[in-house]
Amino acid sequence: MSTMPFAIPRPVHPTGVWSWITTIDHKRIGILYGVTAFILFLTGGMEALLIRAQLAQAEQDLISPEIFNQLFTMHGTTMIFLAVMPLSAAFFNFVVPLQIGARDVAFPRLNAFSFWTFLAGALLLKISWITGGAPNAGWFSYAPLTGITANPGHGIDLWVVSLQVLGVASLAAAFNFIVTIVNMRAPGMSLMRMPMFTWMTLLTAILLVLAFPVITVALIELMFDRTFGMNFFNVAAGAQPILWQHLFWVFGHPEVYILILPAMGIVSDVLPAFSKKPLFGYGTMVVAGVVIAFMGWMVWSHHMFTVGLGPVANSVFTFTTMMIAVPTGIKVFNWLGTIWGGSLNFKTPMLFALGFVGMFIMGGISGVMHAVAASDAQQQDTYFIVAHLHYVLFGGSLMGIFAGIYFWYPKMTGKMYNEGLGKVQFWSMLIAQNITFFPMHFTGLDGMPRRIYTYQENMGWEFWSLISTIGSLMLAASMLLFVYNFVNSWRNGEKASGDPWDARTLEWSMPSPPPEYNFAVIPEVTDRDEWWEEKQRRRIGVPVPVSGGSGYEPEEHSIHLPQPSYWPIVVSIGLLIAGYGVVYNGVIYNFVLAAAGVLIGMIGVYAWALEPVNDPDPDDEHSSH
């Protein structure tokens, strides 16, 4: 019984643009996430290059102070919310269902909705460059700098709305991945047999689910202050703007782990594959991840050591912050244990994974340095902090993500990337990031404040600032090399086999790229590193049922895949229009826009709810839904 609303037929586009717009295949959505996020990553990089150009020499006036404020705000917001998070989401989408032996995520249409809503949020943020001024209060937008009197432009409004929309996208994705990982594991895949990347995805999703509502509330309060003249951060009415800092960092510190845990998961899968050894200390790796995710909630005030919370609060948060280095250290030692005595194969993903470990340790050490409140008082708001956060986010998260891109590239595209170019890109990126970010330790300890648009001569900052700028240009060149390798190999690369790395987890048990249904036969999992064990069983000729996709012809009629749908993108477009509408409060035209957006969203939600996941199969007499 087809309950098709509005008599719009279900999309049937096997190829072409419409097939991507209506797709609900987790692999295609993963590629959409990855490509979109990488383009946004490049825009964030351009913003950084402009910042570095302005700071290359003392007292330059390439860029006005106003634009400079917008640049660093947009750079931070872009890299965190539009680059690292969605790049991680690309891997959640592409890899997790394959690793747990599932044919898709739990809610395929919700998954498409997450992507399109993420794109809507990205557009709302980036559009601020052309609608009269980008947000300019830093990525953490402290009150009362964001108040309507201090900051009357619409940049902050777009920032608020875009983060709300991105929050919806992240929450929808996080719910989806929690349910997928908890509920859709193949038979036999207990929690303690899950690949480490899947584990870290689960923890990241839990952090997202709990952290995003907090920033949502903070953003709502800011929005109400700005739009309706409320008093949440209005000092004249007795408010304490520090409330913003607390709410922001209660979200913001778990967010740090949202950014790093997926990269840790990727590295924990890459190192064993190229060391020909199981992950060392699997159980402690899981526990360390859980402890990091839990303790991430107990350290937020270390971002606020200099606001005057008092010696007790500062001591407690110093202690908890140092404590969180313990599970992180456990992870580092387990990675070292994994490669210890292994038969190492230095392919590009392995190089990036090793680079991750090294760079992340450096970022971690400077992190422990300003875990000490007294020491942080010297470093707060200097380039030392900028150095630290780039070592953990660029040297950490992004190195991990690059390891993942190279590692799963053959699986995603079915082609091999150019190994030589990959290695050149690794070394150039490793060297360039150290040239860019290491001197910031020096200028920071020398007292150079962050977020200044220029500085005077004779402060002793010119030389290292120039070095940083040169490094950033080298980084840009390295990224261009990556883009060339990525695109060219996709077009002209050698065909990749199903298991080019002789790897360990289930995604390598199927052809590259995987068939639409992933697994012809859902595998029975009996071991951690199931695919590796399966290969050993086959090698010694144990007659066992084949797990994984290769070797079995799919019984086409028995695999019911969820069908494409228009409605997710319709709801996202509704959100985009409504979000744009609410920014320009008080204008009738925009009120109409907001109402229209809500209406489109509601229509989409109802049509979605009434549309069956699968149309009934005409051949299937059991079809009861």
Binding site: V209, L210, F224, M230, H622
Partner: protein, 206 residues
């Protein structure tokens, strides 16, 4: 849970690792998220409690008897929700519709009380712009009211859906179960709000 071992139709109908359906697990995850949402709003209210520079203050505007009645109405709506669910699992579609409609009406009544209360406060000179109390109070209870409104729309949608062919049956109890989980959660949040904001706000030292 009378969950017929449904055929693996892909996506949202598959047999699961935990035995809990996908949708139910999603709802629990959402409620966990919503806890943090209301937690942050209530925390904001508490941080600013007693910090308003000008009146009206809580003790000037709160009417505990009136809000007690509306609280009672909302609690009763949870009961009728349970009765509705029981009727559906028994297969008594008519009783299901009656209790479902009752739940929606009780929810709407609660909202009417809230509108009345808001108007009354505004007449006493308390608006969201007046002071910190107004700002935090209207935002917190307003978002709770928005949750109730969404719940009422959801219940009415289920009610209309039940008149379609095959729209309501004991096998599809989960459609209602999800709405019920949400409804009870919103109800529990109100009990916290009533206790912490209203009772504590009026009876100091309580």
């Amino acid at each position: 849970m009378a969950h017929a071992p449904s055929m693996p139709h892909g996506g949202e109908h598959e047999a699961t690792s935990t035995g809990l359906s996908h949708r139910k697990l999603l709802m629990w995850a959402f409620l966990g998220s919503d806890c943090m949402f209301f937690g942050a709003l209530i925390a904001t209210y508490l941080v600013y409690q007693g910090k308003s520079l000008v009146g009206p203050f809580p003790e000037d505007v709160f009417s505990i008897p009136v809000t007690s009645v509306s609280t009672f109405v909302l609690l009763m709506s949870s009961m009728s929700m349970v009765l509705s669910y029981a009727a559906l699992t028994r297969g008594n579609i008519k009783a299901y519709r009656i209790w479902l409609a009752s739940t929606a009406i009780l929810g709407a009544t609660f909202l009417a009380f809230q509108v009345f209360e808001f108007r009354d406060f505004v007449q006493h000179g308390l608006t969201p712009r007046t002071n910190l109390f107004g700002t935090t109070f209207f935002t917190l209870t307003g978002f709770h009211g928005a949750h109730v409104t969404l719940g009422v729309i959801w219940l009415l949608s289920l009610l209309f859906h039940s008149f379609r062919k095959g729209g309501a049956s004991p096998e599809k109890e989960e459609d209602l179960d999800l709405a019920a989980l949400y409804w009870h959660f919103v109800d529990v949040v109100w009990i916290v709000i009533f206790t912490v904001i209203y009772l504590y706000g009026v009876f100091e030292g309580f």
